[in-house]
Amino acid sequence: MDWKALSIALGSMAGIGAVLGIVLAWGSKRFFVKVDERVEQVEAILPGVNCGACGFPGCSGYAEAIVTSEATMTLCSPGGAECAHDIARIMGAEVEAVEPKYALTACQGGNVPNRFDYSGVHDCRAAVVPGMGGGIKHCTYGCIGYGTCARACPFGAITMNDKQMPVIDEEKCTGCGRCVEVCPRDLNRIDRESRTVFVLCTSHDKGAVTNKICDHGCIACKKCEQECPFDAIHVIDNLAVIDYEKCKLCGKCVDVCPKGVIVNLRKERRARKQARETAAKEATT
């Protein structure tokens, strides 16, 4: 054993280590800057899809806003309740449960005839630029059908069916609201899971006009208005509108609507919720 070499090696390594250690220790004291670790912690929890549903520039912006308590912790739609709880744990606060929200398209696109041929960019927003005819279909309130919402959805929850109407997959939908922003006809809306009765039409055309061009359009017949036991649905400007303050989601209006404009999603949603819960149970066991 070459003791000399060993001791030199040991000594020099120890020396380097000591010198660097001292320098770093001094440096960390000398150049100390306080940073809030929580920002990074929160950012790590956020899904990182930068969808903007929270209203901040990306997940990092939202994380910073949470830590500086500019924003509440429940704004992240994609992350959902789980995410909110994790953030709350870091921030040392409790949050109320977040009910899931889903998007819904308020048009069923019932066989509306075309007014003209269109050749150009297939984007609903392009179709409503002045001079582009305002959508190919005769109904100037309903879905244009170029799938802008489907392309805008960051979660692939919207697909266009063969009738060129958007179909929203509620399994994938996180209620982020991108589709609401992009729809030039304001057809998409985000609503709580428990709210299940909707009028799927936005046409303010006169009943006769709507009747002629659309088989799923509100014709302002007022049957729903008469049927409603809670005075919660009214025909305003040729369109049935539900007042959710009064609506008890009984679904009577759904049954009387001759055009199938009003729908009730309770059954489907309940079934799906049950499936989700059993799946979650299985996963834990």
Binding site: I8, A9, S12, M13, G17, L20, V23, L24, G27, F31
Partner: protein, 203 residues
């Protein structure tokens, strides 16, 4: 004049002919990871140049004054170099955060990436190989490794920035789905490396 030509050749070789990324495969992780945006590519590149220069100088000094005289260059080089580089990077980061916050915002976030950037340790190893093979004077060795360090960093930055420009363009291209992101970056790097073959044999 002679000296100048020699250094010119070193520089040309470090930047183009023996480009660290495109012909030596050094520093690929940051090359692929930080080349998505031009601004961050420039930041990363500058940080690498900075650290490479310091590391080249520091490690050459350690080699000349510590490892070589005590005949430890065979078994203590890696350990001592990496420790010095790690400490250096951390110290620079600390100092920059305090003294130049603006610079830290631009470059500092890339500094932690550099410790494990093999380009930095790689340049010290290459300098070492040169110093071992050609026993020229100490100052010459030092100067050479610093120049090599700076311009290897410049070469890295060049490749990184060009790559960032290309990837920005690719972002709006209908790249086949399975190739999006990293695979196409590698294929672009392959094409860049092929193009850089043109410099072969110069100097």
């Amino acid at each position: 004049m002679e000296q100048a030509v020699i250094y010119l050749k070193i520089i040309f070789a470090a930047v183009f002919v023996q480009n660290f990324v495109l012909s030596k495969f050094l520093g690929l992780c940051p090359f692929i990871g930080v080349s998505k945006k031009r601004s961050s590519a420039i930041g990363m590149g500058l940080a690498v140049i900075f650290v490479m220069t310091l590391a080249s100088a520091a490690t050459m000094l350690i080699y000349q004054y510590l490892l070589k005289p005590f005949k430890m260059e065979f078994y203590l080089d890696i350990v001592s170099f990496i420790v010095v580089i790690a400490a250096l990077v951390q110290f620079v980061e600390l100092a920059m955060r305090k003294l130049a916050p603006a610079l830290y915002k631009a470059l500092g976030i890339y500094l932690p990436l550099i410790t494990t950037n093999c380009a930095v340790l790689g340049v010290t190893q290459l300098n070492l190989e040169f110093a071992k093979l050609n026993g020229i004077t100490l100052t010459d060795c030092l100067l050479r490794s610093i120049v090599n360090g700076v311009f290897a960093g410049v070469g890295f930055t060049l490749a990184l920035v060009l790559m960032a420009g290309i990837r920005e363009r690719l972002e709006s291209s209908p790249v086949p789905e399975c190739m999006q992101g990293v695979p196409i970056a590698f294929i672009a790097a392959a094409c860049m490396a092929l193009a850089f073959f043109g410099f072969a044999g110069i100097a």
